[in-house]
């Protein structure tokens, strides 16, 4: 049986409005389990409860009822925070520090012993591809670079679980792809990653499992494969067929008892188009 990294049971979170106790329910009896060494996507529109779930896991919000645990340790406790790293949606860091100074600060705050500190900082800087800019002040960084440094600070104390709130929000597709690749590497190292996003296409290629939330409730949860595959339906992509060839294929489908639901030109995603264009230009320049 796989180890459980995150378990959430019957989690309810109400936010009071005004002094008389009128409540707005942000999470409504959420149950969720995330296995270790998975990339787990928390999906949902704005206000669906993704960030609230994450804040409860971090101990920044107290549940109104229900409970949560990280590797069996109650959420919010020092032990739970020791095994998790967090990247907020819009990371605000101290602009006057360099990336290396920032990581040194977070390493100290995380209680990393002095002898292990510098080595670990270099390691995570390399991991997120920021070694060359490590001496620059954060105030001069682009959004994508800040996100990578944010990821580095989340990793600096070598946590088992990474909680990333909209890690690619505002980052260009190239940066998004780079973050995706870092996350895959981290998974390969045995880390568990919980990430929330409303950019579904990005999640699709990255996550092992996803959960969809709406209005604080869990709508569905499972592996990406299982959730996206439509049972009893197939997709064919053909090339070089003329009108008679297409008619023959359609007739063959009908003859074998199938139903053709639609025919149209094959499309690639914008993200794929963008990546190809950037890569081609890079190759031409070389």
């Amino acid at each position: 049986m796989t180890e459980v990294a995150i378990s959430i049971e019957n989690l309810v979170k109400d936010f009071p409005v005004g002094l008389r106790g009128k409540q707005v329910r942000a999470l409504d009896g959420l149950n969720l389990e995330v296995g270790a060494n998975q990339i787990f996507g928390l999906l949902g529109p704005n206000g669906s409860g993704k960030s609230t779930t994450i804040k409860v896991l971090l101990g920044l919000l107290r549940p109104s009822s229900g409970a949560g645990a990280i590797f069996g340790i109650p959420v919010g406790s020092l032990g739970a925070r020791r095994v998790l790293g967090y990247l907020p949606e819009v990371p605000h860091f101290y602009r006057f520090l360099t990336a290396r100074e920032l990581l040194r600060y977070y390493a100290r705050v995380s209680g990393l012993p002095r002898r292990a500190r510098e080595g670990r900082i270099s390691e995570v800087l390399e991991q997120v591809g920021m070694e060359s800019a490590a001496g620059r002040r954060l105030g001069t960084y682009s959004k994508g670079m800040l996100q990578r440094v944010g990821l580095a600070q989340a990793l600096v104390h070598d946590p088992q679980l990474l909680v990333l709130d909209e890690p690619t929000a505002g980052v260009d597709p190239e940066g998004t792809a780079a973050i995706g690749s870092i996350l895959c590497d981290l998974k390969a190292q045995g880390k568990t990653i919980l990430l929330s996003s409303h950019l579904l296409a990005q999640m699709e290629g990255l996550c092992d499992r996803v959960a969809i939330l709406n209005k604080g409730r869990l709508l569905c949860e499972g592996s990406v494969e299982a959730l996206l595959i439509e049972e009893g339906a197939d997709t064919y992509v053909t090339e070089g067929l003329d009108a008679s060839g297409r008619a023959a294929v359609e007739a063959a489908i009908r003859a074998s008892g199938g139903r053709l639901r639609g025919v149209g030109p094959a499309r690639r995603g914008l993200e794929e188009l963008f990546s190809r264009a950037i890569n081609n230009e890079g190759e031409e320049a070389r």
């Binding site: 971090l58 920044l60 032990g79 790293g85 209680g111």
Partner: protein, 272 residues
């Protein structure tokens, strides 16, 4: 334990670095130095040795007044900005205790105030030394007791510690920076003036008002006990018994702990 100390030192160091990068600190220090240097203006009045008392009064007042403004502004800002900018989210997601975070913040602010006190006391010592050399006085006369200038600075630093802890307490429940600052200033004012209430409540005939006034004395510390400038520094000053100095430090330390604990109690329960 050393790990915890390092965590506190890390927060303290960053808070101090952030504080000394702020223009406001330099403005306050410059105003303070300007006022001290400007006290040379008293020479025009040909006060003789009374001029030294004037300069000491003036400098102590400057230290007290500007220091109070600096500690409340910096203390509130350095703590509240962590909440407002959400850097506290990233930080408190790390395995650091809320209390250690607050203690680190307070230590950072206190380090800033120590720098402020040392700059002003250093300048005052230098100014008085130069002035004493220029004044005619009898041999053997001690016109300025330099050690006591620093003792005053140290006692004010202890008082700034109480105010810094108050800023953390207010910041732990405040919903805006402006609110936090205003309440902290109000707190200082009441602490500074509550001795009047303490002394006059017996004369109030209207009972509920009398209880209210009496309650003030129980809720707010008497910050006026640190107003020891008249007893220190110049040749006519009576000095302050060592035991009283120790008790003043104990009074400040105890209130710092109390406010820090209350700040922690509030902050731990605060939803970020």
């Amino acid at each position: 334990m050393s790990g915890r100390i390092d965590q506190i030192l890390a927060v303290c160091g960053l808070t101090f670095t952030e504080a000394v990068r702020q223009k406001f600190f330099y403005i306050v220090v410059l105003i303070g130095c300007g006022m001290l240097l400007g006290s040379g203006y008293f020479q025009q009045f040909d006060f003789g040795i009374d001029e030294l008392k004037f300069v000491i009064d003036f400098s102590f007042g400057t230290l007290f007044f500007l220091g109070s403004i600096l500690v409340i502004t910096a203390g509130t800002q350095l703590f509240y900005s962590e909440i407002e900018n959400r850097t506290a989210h990233t930080l408190l997601a790390k395995p650091i205790r809320h209390f250690d975070f607050l203690l680190g913040k307070l230590c950072g602010v206190q380090l800033l105030m120590l720098l402020f006190v040392m700059i002003l006391c250093g300048l005052l010592t230098g100014l008085l030394y130069l002035r004493v050399q220029a004044l005619p006085f009898m041999e053997g006369d001690v016109l300025v007791r330099y050690g006591e200038l620093w003792l005053y600075g140290f006692l004010q630093w202890a008082r700034f510690g109480v105010l810094g802890a108050v800023c953390l307490l207010v910041g732990s429940f405040a919903r805006s920076y402006l609110y936090a600052m205003m309440v902290s200033f109000f707190f200082m004012l009441v602490g500074q003036l509550q001795y009047i209430a303490q002394e006059s409540y017996r004369e109030i005939a209207f009972l509920p008002l009398r209880w209210l006034v009496q309650a003030l004395a129980w809720v707010f510390p008497n910050l006026q006990v640190f107003n020891v400038g008249d007893q220190l520094g110049h040749m006519q000053a009576e000095g302050l018994p060592f035991l009283v100095v120790l008790q003043l430090l104990w009074y400040a330390a105890a209130y710092i702990l109390v406010y820090l604990w209350l700040a922690w109690w509030n902050f731990k329960r605060r939803e970020l």
